[in-house]
């Protein structure tokens, strides 16, 4: 399968890429890992006349920690995050990176591309919405940072202007006494999950002091289950509070029936995943080292 013909432009820097986008007009698109865009172009669902390739821009792939935040260059590949030492201290990032598709797709796909694509089933957005995440954006006119909570506005839609790109993603490192976990249910590796649950919990003794719960693949954008978080906050994490959180998750999600399952099935699945993710997050909050893997059918 061939995409429609297009002109190829290789950016030497991110500002140059933004300038190229503004000069080439609406019909130009950025190419990062290509693991969403190229399949869409081959199926002719996307037909850009110009591609601006970011892969040759030096210094766009990095993970570093500064002032209590981890910073990812936009072109950092999923596999680089999977294999980085950051996953030991910030395990929810490893849960996410290691569970995306398969080795080959993780070797190409980028965190910046995943957030910019805003696929309702994309893993990064669901996970990073449980964290304090800022998206640093660059256009020929300005540089700005947008909290992830404001960045994705609809399915496949972000606040990015046509000639604006993601330069960096900055995630605050959670403090002591807090733990996170991300679990998804998948039919096989190289497909998006059927449903997924990201949880970040802060414990003080037996009491949950703070909670953030986000569900993936069960709405047009990742679903922030605030009522479910309320069901846990200032309470003991026990069967009763977890059951209340699961009920709140069933209420909050808005899944579409498709070949992966009925809406009712996905609702139940999301609640079950949340339960497991809470268990892991609480253990991690207590300092336990827990390895998890997505659940494959």
């Amino acid at each position: 399968m061939y995409p429609r013909p297009f002109h190829y432009h290789r950016a030497g820097s991110l500002p140059e890429a933004a300038t190229m986008l503004s000069q080439l007009g609406d019909d130009a698109k950025l190419l990062a890992g290509g693991q969403s865009l190229i399949p869409l172009m081959k199926l002719r669902f996307a037909n850009p006349s110009h591609l601006v390739d970011l892969n040759f821009v030096p210094g766009t792939s990095y993970i570093n920690e500064q002032n209590g935040a981890v910073r990812f260059g936009a072109l950092t590949r999923h596999s680089e995050i999977e294999n980085s030492s950051i996953g030991v201290r910030f395990p929810i990032l490893h849960d996410c990176a290691a569970g995306i598709a398969d080795v080959q797709i993780r070797n190409r796909g980028t965190i910046g591309g995943s957030l910019a694509e805003a696929d309702p089933s994309g893993d990064w957005a669901a996970v990073l919405l449980t964290q304090k995440t800022e998206i640093w954006c660059l256009s020929p006119r300005r540089e700005r940072s947008v909290p992830l909570t404001d960045f994705i506005t609809d399915a496949y839609t972000t606040v990015l202007e046509h000639d604006e790109l993601v330069r960096e993603i900055s995630v605050e490192v959670p403090g002591k006494g807090t733990g996170g976990a991300y679990l998804a249910f998948k039919r096989s590796a190289p497909v998006y999950p059927t449903a997924s649950a990201a949880v970040q919990i802060t414990m003080e003794g037996d009491i949950c002091k703070d909670a953030h719960l986000v569900l993936g693949c069960v709405g047009l954008v990742p679903v922030r289950a605030t009522a479910a978080a309320d069901a846990l906050r200032d309470r003991r994490i026990d069967d009763k509070s977890v059951a209340a959180a699961m009920d709140a998750v069933r209420e909050a999600v808005d899944p579409q029936a498709d070949m992966r399952g009925s809406a009712e099935y996905k609702r139940t699945l999301a609640a079950a995943l949340v339960k497991r993710a809470i268990e892991v997050a609480v253990r991690r909050a207590r300092g336990e080292r827990v390895e998890v893997s997505h659940i494959y059918a």
Binding site: M1, Y2, P3, R4, P5, F6, H7, Y8, L31, G34, Q35, I38, P39, K42, L43, S49, L51, D53, N55, F56, S79, A98, A101, D102, V103, Q104, I105, N107, R108, S188, A189, P190, V191
Partner: protein, 162 residues
Amino acid sequence: MPETIDKVAIQLKVNGKLYSLAVEPRTLLVELLREELNLTGTHVGCDTTYCGACTVLLNGASVKSCTMFAVQADGAEILTVEGLAKDGKLHPIQKAFGDSYGLQCGYCTPGLMLSTFQLVTKNHEPSENEIRKAIAGNTCRCTGYQNIFKAIRLAAQNMKGA
């Protein structure tokens, strides 16, 4: 639709051999390998980034060559299945797949061997789980995978000495 599309000059190494070519931007890496360079060992199965029959190594990292444009391989080193054997001698991975009956029709095999290559060059004692993860992006419609697992364990052992 754009009227005339400029070809792009690229240089890449495939299996150690340097090529200088001009490619149409929409040419996929797998098409370049198969149609221009006549390296037909890299297969096209699904053409939709699922099956991994088109897996090659790009600067040592496995990628699906049906989901990358050839222009993006400019300056890169590619390893395909044709680059595994040396001086008429099978690579230990190839030998292991043969000895373990890790293939039937062989369609998935080049891709699986390159995924294996990425795994065993870093890890000589992969666990069952590590093997499963390493080949999760490669579909085999014939073998049922059991002999492929055997082949990969054997390949890892064979390469320990190498």
